[in-house]
Amino acid sequence: MTLAADFTARRGALDLQIALAVGNGETLALLGPNGAGKTSCLRVLAGLDAIERGQVRIDDDVVDDGEHFVPPEERGIGVVFQEHRLFPHLRVRDNVAFGLRSRGIKARIARAAAATWLDRLEMTRFADARPDELSGGQAQRVALARTLATRPRLLLLDEPLAAADATARQLLRRTLQTQLRTFPGGCVVVAHDIDDALALADRVAVIENGCIVQCGTLDELSNKPASRYVADLVGLNRFRGTCRDHVLTTDDGARIVVGSVHDGPVVATLHPRAVALFPERPAGSPRNVFEANVVTVERALDCYRVQLAGELPVVAEVTESAVRDLHLDRGVSVWVAIKATEFRVAPM
Amino acid sequence: AGCARDDPRSLTVFAAASLTSAFEQLAHRFEQTHAGVHVDLHTAGTPRLVLQIQEGAQADVFASADEAQMQRIVAAGMARGQPIAFAYNSMTLITPRDRAAIQSLRDLQSPRARVLLCAPSVPAGRYARAVLAKAGIDVRSVSDEPNVRAVIAKVRLGLVDAAIVYRSDARGDTKLRCLPIDAADNVRTTYPVVTLRDARSPELAERFVRFVLGETGRQVLAENGFDLP
């Protein structure tokens, strides 16, 4: 086990209550809404903030138990901050060499290592540049190089791919994967994008409001999303309510006919592709039919995502021709049909 | 030159600011006549010198512009023997070169005359006020200046119409007009000199004091506008 943390901490108005563990060579992705406490959590793990109660262990060292506190420079960690924080007075090369120099390594050797890392991240061209001469994505890449160069036993990455363009993203993912494969340590990476999370991480932990609401593989999250946010994250519609005789009454009062035999409190999820839209009230088999208004229409790569407000707020995925034929646009009213069997219902 | 105090052939002399020119020449002459002796001369306002000596300044000879201040050294037991008067000075009335409105002490009483004196706390200010009191003149100084030099500078600049300063200080300044003060109204100020208790080389200090009192000393002091005992 590289990291074992179970602690409470405060940051402004936010109460953090975190329990997580990362095994050797494992990567855990941290997802959650803005302001949920992802950065705050990394800060605690890094030793930039102290905990109130609990314990943080890295390898076999207790680095914080509310009394004994090991400062960041002695934790053997590496952090990539959300804003890159390159040292403005040092050239790119010296920024990358900084961590090694801090560990007492000779300037020549540290600079050679820095050169290697810059090469890996395809930034050799900018070795002599000053940080303020870099573009946003370049700076983030250098920040990553700077951290990786120290070969930390625990990597903490705060949205390392946010500023990276499409191709750079692949490069960075690949570099991180290599890195994580060759070092025995673990990694906690904050991501906003489930794709980034999946590309880098084995497991995903979702933080909301300072607490971890769910932690598991993508399949575990998809099968039984613990919250509306998780459902959104994996692209599903999610409803909570009480089921009785194939009828689910959601907490908001909507009634859905579902193909499930569960009774009592349940969570139902629904894939957006299973939501069908019609200009007029459709006849036929679907058991759930209601009228709704279009809130937004967003183009995705090979489909359109339509957000609907009505008896049941749902997101539908439709083709381009459907958008054209139904004149889908904000405020347009359409009929929604969902087959009862499309709902996946799980008891709570 | 950094550690004169370790060298018995060097002598530290503290002298009042108004003695600066005279003592610079004296020191020079003394060095000429006493081969291998180096005189370290430090000049400042007399009260300042007294403070410095009281605070343990390593000095051999002290030449004061004021008997009262000298008395503080004696009273503190820091003098070796009694101080000896070696020069006298008196006060003079000065005005800017180009200003004829003032011809004598009496003219200071004119309400339009701007008069400048040293502060009563410095000897020069005390003496100047004594002169005015003797003459029965009641004037108010525009400002209480800290030393004679400040007074002279302002008269030179024509900022005031008149001032009363030491005669020796006003001597030979082309921008000033010196108006003598009647002997009856004037005061005579005394410059005492003494060898200090903690002198490194008392006998060399003694020799310097005698040099000041002697022929060369008298000649130099006279050249610098001092009266002699």
Binding site: D49, A50, P71 | P47, K154, L157, G158
Partner: protein
């Protein structure tokens, strides 16, 4: 909470302590000399209070003038390093490197009745500056302003332009951007500069006595009063000096939370 980062390198404390002792010892020496028994009547005497009031008033006005005139000058200086800028910077250091008495003399020659500008001032405006309270203000401003200007220039040079860029894209012209963005963001240096200038002005002696003289109630500031006392009654001088220290202590304690916020 930020335990990790309020840590100072430990052995920085040794030289810091030496420096503190360097400042402490002379104060202690002064304190041992202070006439503790006669202190109260001395400090509440009319002259002392008069001098105190004058000192406080003049130093505050001087600080204000530093702000009003020095801030624009510092801003201009921070925007260049050509020949003109460097020359002006030299000009600004002048009152610092000049012994104050010479500074006072220079002021006399410039603004005195027969001075460069002085004659004109008297003839045209009836302004005869020397020996007035205005002279005190002018002298202390002249001596104190360089400290303000150079400090603030340093601060402005480190100022992060990204914020003025953002202000411009939000529609703020140079003037508005200067007032609402630049100034608030360089506040800590402004404060440091003001503090330096004010303290220097409060303790100013040489230039003041030369340019303004020493006239009780009009130009005799506390440092000048100290000086007078020094010649006749050194313990009283020490006592008066302590008043200066008390004033600065009072100000620093009052400003403590606003000017030196804990981080």
């Amino acid at each position: 909470m930020n335990r990790a980062h309020s840590r100072l390198p430990n052995w920085l404390l040794a030289p810091a302590l030496i420096a503190a002792v360097l400042f402490l010892l002379p104060l202690l020496a002064l304190l041992t000399e202070a006439p503790w028994r006669d202190l109260l009547p001395l400090l509440t005497s009319n002259e002392t209070l008069q001098a105190l009031a004058l000192s406080v008033r003049c130093s505050l006005i001087a600080a204000l003038l530093c702000l009003l005139l020095g801030l624009p000058l510092a801003t201009w200086l921070a925007h260049g390093n050509g020949l003109l800028h460097t020359s002006v910077r030299v000009l600004v250091t002048l009152p610092m490197v000049l012994p104050p008495i010479v500074g006072g003399l220079a002021l006399l020659k410039a603004f005195g009745g027969n001075g460069l500008l002085g004659g004109a001032l008297v003839d045209w405006f009836g302004l005869d500056i020397p020996f007035t309270t205005s002279a005190v203000v002018l002298a202390t401003t002249y001596v104190a302003m360089p400290f303000f200007v150079l400090t603030v220039e340093g601060g402005l040079r480190t100022f992060d332009r990204r914020y003025t860029e953002a202000a411009a894209t939000l529609g703020a012209g140079p003037w508005r951007s200067f007032c609402t963005v630049t100034l608030p963001l360089v506040q800590p240096t402004l404060r440091a500069g003001l503090l330096l200038a004010w303290a220097r002005a409060l303790g100013e002696f040489g230039a003041t006595i030369t340019f303004a003289g020493s006239f009780a109630g009009r130009t005799r500031t506390l440092p000048i009063a100290v000086h007078h006392a020094l010649d006749t009654n050194p313990p009283a001088a020490v006592a008066l000096s302590l008043v200066l220290l008390l004033v600065s202590a009072l100000v620093l304690f009052l400003l403590r939370h606003r000017w030196f916020p804990s981080r």
